[in-house]
Symmetry: D3
Subunit: 238 residues, 6 copies
Amino acid sequence: MPRSFDRAAHEVRPLSFQRNFTNAAGSVLASFGDTRVLCTAVAIDGVPPFLQGKRQGWMTAEYSMLPSSVSRGRKQRDRGGKVDGRSVEIQRLIGRALRSVVDLSVIGERTVWVDCDVIQADGGTRTASISGAWVALCDLFKQMDDKRLLREWPLRSQLAAVSVGLVDGQVLCDLDYVEDSGAGVDMNLVKNSDGEYVEVGGGGEGMTFSRDVLESMLAVGDEGLAQIFAAQKAALAD
Amino acid sequence: MPRSFDRAAHEVRPLSFQRNFTNAAGSVLASFGDTRVLCTAVAIDGVPPFLQGKRQGWMTAEYSMLPSSVSRGRKQRDRGGKVDGRSVEIQRLIGRALRSVVDLSVIGERTVWVDCDVIQADGGTRTASISGAWVALCDLFKQMDDKRLLREWPLRSQLAAVSVGLVDGQVLCDLDYVEDSGAGVDMNLVKNSDGEYVEVGGGGEGMTFSRDVLESMLAVGDEGLAQIFAAQKAALAD
Amino acid sequence: MPRSFDRAAHEVRPLSFQRNFTNAAGSVLASFGDTRVLCTAVAIDGVPPFLQGKRQGWMTAEYSMLPSSVSRGRKQRDRGGKVDGRSVEIQRLIGRALRSVVDLSVIGERTVWVDCDVIQADGGTRTASISGAWVALCDLFKQMDDKRLLREWPLRSQLAAVSVGLVDGQVLCDLDYVEDSGAGVDMNLVKNSDGEYVEVGGGGEGMTFSRDVLESMLAVGDEGLAQIFAAQKAALAD
Amino acid sequence: MPRSFDRAAHEVRPLSFQRNFTNAAGSVLASFGDTRVLCTAVAIDGVPPFLQGKRQGWMTAEYSMLPSSVSRGRKQRDRGGKVDGRSVEIQRLIGRALRSVVDLSVIGERTVWVDCDVIQADGGTRTASISGAWVALCDLFKQMDDKRLLREWPLRSQLAAVSVGLVDGQVLCDLDYVEDSGAGVDMNLVKNSDGEYVEVGGGGEGMTFSRDVLESMLAVGDEGLAQIFAAQKAALAD
Amino acid sequence: MPRSFDRAAHEVRPLSFQRNFTNAAGSVLASFGDTRVLCTAVAIDGVPPFLQGKRQGWMTAEYSMLPSSVSRGRKQRDRGGKVDGRSVEIQRLIGRALRSVVDLSVIGERTVWVDCDVIQADGGTRTASISGAWVALCDLFKQMDDKRLLREWPLRSQLAAVSVGLVDGQVLCDLDYVEDSGAGVDMNLVKNSDGEYVEVGGGGEGMTFSRDVLESMLAVGDEGLAQIFAAQKAALAD
Amino acid sequence: MPRSFDRAAHEVRPLSFQRNFTNAAGSVLASFGDTRVLCTAVAIDGVPPFLQGKRQGWMTAEYSMLPSSVSRGRKQRDRGGKVDGRSVEIQRLIGRALRSVVDLSVIGERTVWVDCDVIQADGGTRTASISGAWVALCDLFKQMDDKRLLREWPLRSQLAAVSVGLVDGQVLCDLDYVEDSGAGVDMNLVKNSDGEYVEVGGGGEGMTFSRDVLESMLAVGDEGLAQIFAAQKAALAD
C-alpha cells in the first residue's frame, strides 16, 4: 500500500509550524499532514503551592481533542468530571518532555501553561503537540525576554517527537490514522537536538516486538526527527 | 473613541466565513474582526430517548472557549465536572436559535451536533457562533442531501445574530471586547431572513435602559444583521 | 380557551408575597396562582476573592426546584455534580436582575445570598423568583439597617418581572404551565419602577415572531408589571 | 433552663402534619415546634434494574436542607457532585424505616419516591421527616387505591420517630436545636404502632452513656412516640 | 444450622489483630474469621480550618472496600465522584466512635487519619474496623509518645465494637456474611472498657423487633465485646 | 551507596508471589522487597457495549494506592471524581501489557477485572503489579478451566515487568523508592517469556539519556526479568 503523500518509510508527512496563529504569546498551528494541533504557551504569575517561595517557575501541559477533530463520528467533551484516560496520559507526556529542555529556575515565580488542542486528527497528535509546543515556547520566551522577565534564556536545546510503528512487517515513520490503526506496534520517540533521548515509549495492543524491531524503530525515528528539527528551525527563521 | 477597523456605529467588523476549515461535514471558521470561532456540524445516527421511534431528528449545540482564546491570562478548561455557567447559557441559546430554522422531521433519526469552539475571543463570540453555525449547517445538509439522507431540504430560512450595546450613551453594533467591557447595556439579536425575530435578549450588569434605547438597539441591530446575511450568502456562493 | 382564574389576556394570576415565611432575614413565599417559590435573602460576612479589600459587597442567586414541585413525575436533584442547564440560566438571570437595583458599595464586605426554591411549579417560576426576591431583599436590608450595618439604603428602585407569550395568535400575560407549553413564543421582562428595562429576553422553541408581536408583548408586559409592583407594595405595607 | 414551649422532659413540641401542602400525591408539611419539613411521596412507573420483572415495587428516600433553613449562616447546596455525609446517612435511615411498614409486593412495578426537604431547621429534622413521610405515604396510597393501582393496602402499621437525649444529666424528649447542641448523647428511636422497634440509633460526639441512661432514653422515647402517633391519627382524621 | 467455626450463639469468630502489618505508624490487620480489614493510623501536621489556632488536634476516618474483597462479583471503586452511601455511613460511625475515647487536646495541631480498608469481607466489617483501629491508635500514640509529641496519653479507655442480630428467632453474636444476609434485625454495639455505650445502632430491612429482643441483643453483645477486649489486650501484650 | 538487601546493580530485590492471599479467584500478594501489591483477577459475565455479541471477552485493569501505603504522610483517596493522573497512566499500562499475552477470544463473553492495590509502596509498584497480576491470571484461568468455562487455555506466554534507571551514572535494576527519587532516568520494561518486548517506556524528569545508556538499560533489564520469570514459575509450582 502506498503511503499518504507518496512518501518513503522513513519520511514524515509535509510539516508546517504556523506561528502567531492566535494572539497568545506563543501560538503555533502544527501540521503533520492532515493532523493539525493548535499549540499555545502563556506565562501566568504564580506557581503551585509546593513551589511557593522557591524563586523558580513551573510548566504544565493540557491536551484535548475538539469534538469535531476525529474523522468519524464525534468525540465527547471531557465535561462530566472525568477526563479521558488517553488525554491524561498524553498531557503528562507533553509536560515531562518539555520540562526536560527548559530551565525553570530563570523564569521567576511564573507558571507556563502549554495547551495542545487538536483541531484535526489524522494520527500522531501527541508528537505534533510536542514538536509544535516547543516552537510556541520559543515565541513565548522571546516575548518574555523582550519584557526583561527572564534572568537567562531558559531553553537548553531543541526538542522534537516522532512516532514510528510496525505495519505489515515494515517499520514506518510518522504514521497517519490508517497506518496507526493497522500498526501492530507503535512507539513515540522524543529527542533533543544534542541527540539525547527524552522519552522512549511504545508497545502493542495485542502484539509484541523483538529487539531487532526495536533497533529499526530507533533508527527510522532518527531519520524522522531530523526532518522535524529542520522544519522547526525553518519556521523560527521566518 | 474611534471604533476598531474605523467603522461607524451601525457597522459590523470585517466578516468572513471560511468553509471546509477542517474535515468535518460542516466546518466553518467564523471571523468577526479578531473574534474567531470554529463552528462544526456533524450528524450522528440515533436520537435522545425522548424522541426514539418518533421518526424525527434532534439538534444540540455545545460552546466552549479554548484556554488560550482569551486576551489576558488563560481560561481554565471545564474539566472539574462543573461547566461554566456562561457556557451553559450560550450553548442553550445557540441550540434554540438554530432549531428555529431547521425542520427536524426530514433528517431521519439522527442527531445534529453543532460545536462552537472559540479560537480567539474579542467580543461577540455567541453571535459569531450562531452566524457561523448556520453556514456549517448548510454544508452538512448539502453533504447529507448528496447522500440522499434527507426527505426534504431542512433549512426553512437564513439565520444570523448580532450584538448591540449602549456605550457612553451611543448605540453600537457588533461590540468588540473593549467596547463590550465598557457597555452599560448589551443585547443579542437573532433574526431569520424573513425579518422575524428568533431571540431577543439583553440587559445590563448594573444598568438599565429605556424603551427608546431598546428601539434604537433593534434598529441598529437590523443594519448589522443585513451585513451578516450578505456575508453568509457570499461565503456560500464560493 | 378561558384562562385560569378567569382572567383577561393582560391580567396576572392572583398574587401574594407572604413575608417572614421562615426565620431567614428575608423570607418570602411568592405565589403567582399555583406557582409558589420560597425566596430568601441572607447576608454572610466576606466577599469572593476578586472583591477582597475593595470595601464593597456582592450578591449572588441560586435557583432550584424541589423534586416534588413539578406537576407530573418527579424532578431529579442536581446531585451528580452537573447542575441542570435551565437552572444555571435562570439563577444567572435572577442575580443580574437584582444587582441592577442594589448599590453593593454600601453594604460592607458582605455577600447577599438569594435563594429561590420552587415549592410548586405552574409556569412563571423565574418571574415569581425575581419579584419575590426583591421583597425578600427589602426585609433583609431593613433588618441590616436596624443593626446599623448599612452606610445608606441600598435599594435604588423597585423591581419586578413578568412573562408574556404568544398563544394561538394571542399575546397573554403571566402564562401558567398549560399556556406556557402551548406558547410559540415566550418572553420574560424585568423592569424597575422608574420604567426602565433591566432585562428583555425571549424567543421561541421552533417559532419566530415579528416586530409587531414584539411590540404587543412589551405593551402587555407593562400592564402585568403594574399589577405586580402594586402587590409588592401592598405586601410591604402590612 | 426551661424548655421551649414550656414543656416537660417527656413532652414533644407542638406538632402538626399539614396535608396537601402542595399538589404532589402525598404532600405533608410536618412541624415539630419551629422545625418544618416538607415530606412528599410520589409513585413513578418502573423499578431499579435489580428488581425488574419481579412484579414488585421499590421505595427510596432523599433528604435535603434548603440553604436558608439553618438558623445561622447558610447551608451550601449539594451541587459539587459530593452529597453531604450527614444527608446521606439520614436519607438512608428514612428509606429503611419506611420500608419496614410497607408491603412493596402489592404496589406493582412502581418506585415510591419520598422527598424530605427541610424548610426550617430547629433540631429533630430526621424524626420529623420520618413521622411526616408516613402521613404522606397514607395520602399517596389512598390516591393510588382510588385509581385501583394497589392489589392490597400496603401499609402494615403506623410509624413514627422521636429523638431523645441526655442534656445536663437529664433525659429529654424531642430536642430542639439549642438542646441538641448541648446534648452529650443523642438517640433516635423509630417504632411502629405495634410497639416494635424499627431502628434504634444513638451515641455521643465525645461522650458515652450507661445502660441505665439507655433504659431511661427508651422509656422517655415511648412517651414522645405516643404523642406523635396521636397527632398523625388526628391529621388523617381531618 | 451450625455456625461457622463451630461456635455458640454468644461467641465471636476467631480474632486476631496483626500489628505492624505495613510501615504506617499504626498498622493492624484485624481478622474476625474470614473478614479482614487493614486499619491504619497516621498523624499529619495541621487541622481543618474550623480548628486552626485552637491548639488541639482532630481525628477523622475513611472506610473503603477493595474491589476484590466481596465474595461474589466485584465491588466498583468510588471513583465517579460519588461515594457509596453505605461507606459514608460507616466511616462517620468509625470516626465518632474513636473520638469518644481520644483526648484531642493533648496531641497538638495534628490530624489523625484512620483508614479502614477491607481486604476480605465476610460480615462485620464495620465492627472489625472499629476494634482494629483502636489497636492501631495505640501503636500510633506509642510512636508519637516516643517522639515526645504528646502532652499526655490521649486514650481514655479501650474501645471495641460487635455486631448482634436476630437470625431465625435466635440472637447471635458477630454475624458472618451468610448469617447477616439471613438476619431480620442487625445491630452494632460500640462500648468502652468502662462498660459505657458509645454507639448503639440497629434495625431491620423490612423487619422489626420487640423490647425483649433488644434486651437480648444487648446481653449477647456484652459477651462478644468481652472476647474482643481480651483479644485486643493480648495483641498489645505481644 | 550500597543497595538495599545488599544487592548488585543487576539484581532485583527479594521477590515473592503469595497466591490465594484472599478468596478472589486469582489473588496474589506480590512483594518486591518492601513494595507489596495485592493483585487480584476475577471474571464477571458480560462485556462492554462495543464488544457485545462478538463472542469474545475483555480485560481491564485498575490500579490504586491505599492511603497508608506511602512512606511519608498519607495519599488522598481518588474520591473527588478526579482520578490521579499517575494512576490512570499506570492502570492503562497494566491493562495493555496483560492483554498482549491473553487470547480474549476463548474466554466467552466475560470481562476479566484485574485490580492492583498497593498495600505498601517502596518503588516499582507498576512492575510489581504487572508481574503479580500475571500470576493472578494463571490462578483465575485455572479455576475457570476447572469449571469448563474456557474453550482453550488463554495465556500465550509468561509476562513480567521490571524497572531500570540511571542513578549517579550507574544503571540499576528494580529501583527502590530512595533510588527512584535520585534517578535521573527511569524506564519500565515489559517482556514476555519468548524474549519479545511488550512495552518499553521511560524518560527523565528533567534529564535525558544517550543511546548507550538506553542499550545498558535494556541489558540490565533482561537480567532482572530473568529473575522475575523464575520467581513466578517457582510460585506457580507450589
